[in-house]
């Protein structure tokens, strides 16, 4: 019920305005703590040395890249079924943020590949799937923006995102099959899954920090979207009148 009420753009705008400062403080603090801990305090990896510290950005951003796709598609599905405007705007925001997260994951992965594999880019199953995920994000972003009729573009973007969710497992499986076919699985990013507890703790902190940051940026993007779409409504005009009076 509260979720339904939150789908009112006006209410969301006001509540998120209150939440954003706290979200900002919390995410920045946790990210700083996690980075400090991971980069400077955690012990170096026995085999990879200090280059493994890229994990503290690479893994959380990969998590969010994947989870973000499902957030985006879920929001699109909600928008198609219940026709709430705000879920389409959520989808649009999630597309931009998710694409950035995917890019971060790919970029840090490539840099990490240089000291550990000897090359920046490997057509590894996971790397390739991540690249395809970035293409899927870009496709959704392009679809949303391609139409003069904004509503139609959002609807089409939501449908495309849903088609993508059906295809993500198929694509992943086929790329995995293709990879094992062409080269033996000698190169693995996280070779031993039993990561030491001293290394795991800062990683968990970073994952929490990334999720908070994701929530923060979603709020920021969503507020801009709300203002953009609702500028003809009375509550936005009231808001501006109050701002004008305050500034004199």
């Amino acid at each position: 019920m509260w979720l339904y009420r939150l789908s009112s753009p006006k209410l969301f705008y006001h509540i998120s305005g209150r939440v954003i400062p706290w979200l900002f403080l919390a995410s920045i603090t946790i990210l700083v703590i996690g980075l400090f801990w991971g980069l400077l305090i955690a012990p170096p990896d026995a085999r990879q040395g200090d280059s493994f510290r890229i994990i503290y950005i690479h893994v959380p951003s990969s998590f969010l890249a994947l989870a973000g796709y499902y957030f985006m598609a879920g929001a699109g599905a909600v928008g198609l079924v219940w026709r709430t405007k705000i879920s389409f705007w959520f989808m649009k925001s999630a597309a931009s943020i998710g694409a950035s997260m995917t890019f971060i994951a790919l970029f840090t992965g490539a840099i990490w590949g240089r000291p550990s594999w000897g090359t920046y880019w490997v057509w590894d199953a996971r790397v390739t799937s991540m690249l395809i995920l970035l293409f899927l994000y870009l496709g959704v972003m392009a679809m949303i923006r391609a139409f003069d009729n904004k509503e139609l573009g959002q609807k089409n973007g939501a449908i495309l995102a849903l088609i993508g969710t059906v295809n993500v497992p198929i694509i992943y499986k086929s790329v995995d099959w293709w990879h094992t076919l062409h080269q033996p699985a000698t190169l693995k990013l996280t070779s031993d899954s039993s990561i030491h507890i001293d290394m795991l703790q800062p990683l968990l902190v970073m994952i929490v920090g990334f999720y908070l940051f994701y929530a923060l940026t979603i709020c920021l993007f969503l507020r801009a979207e709300i203002l953009q779409h609702e500028q003809a409504t009375s509550w936005v005009k009231d808001l501006c009148v109050r701002r004008l009076r305050k500034s004199g």
Binding site: F135, L138, G139, A146, N149, I163, G164, N167, W177
Partner: protein
Amino acid sequence: MHSPKTRHDIGFYAHFRRELSLARCAFDATIAPLVFMFMGVAVIPLALSPDTVSYSSIAPGIVWIMVMLASLMSIERIFTFDYDDGSLEQLLISPQLLAQPIFGKLVAHWVLTGLPMALASPMMAFVLSLPAEGYLPMILSIVIGTAYLSLVGSVCASLTVSLGRGGFLLPITVIPLYMPIIIFGSATIDFAVSGMEWSFPLAIMGTLLCLAMAVCPIAVATIFRFTILF
């Protein structure tokens, strides 16, 4: 007026035949993708140096990339004419199931583009000096694969139909969805050339095709209901 319950089958045949007779006079539908495909194949050796490369090792990949591009370009306008002249809206408000005529259109599209590509592909394989044992798997994989490409491509084409010329939008959205077929299609030829059991990747392609046949016409119909009627 006939009862809508009993006449669903009519939609399929009617639209299948309609598409075929519409295309009979059209150079665009069948010949142009073939010409495009051959031109692409002719350009690729020019981009590589003639002595050092053995074409037979990259032939499966080249064949499949060109098939994919030709299919992509032909699928873009599959619904455009029906959308422009209003017959798509007529279909939408008629009591028939929408998925049937759409499936008919798609089968016709495959007969007009995919099948000729499969039949003409030995010529491509010939100029790329593909070993003889690769020919049959190649034809079979293109027969199955182009059907899948048409089905999946039509879903994205239905999203971009109101744009007319979608430009880059259709390739951007569709190519990620095409990747499984590219992988298994070229693997089928690869397996056959290197003497492995090539029926396995072909069987996976068949599975994907069955899935797409079940899902895609309904998906296209749902998309049209969502985006044109509302």
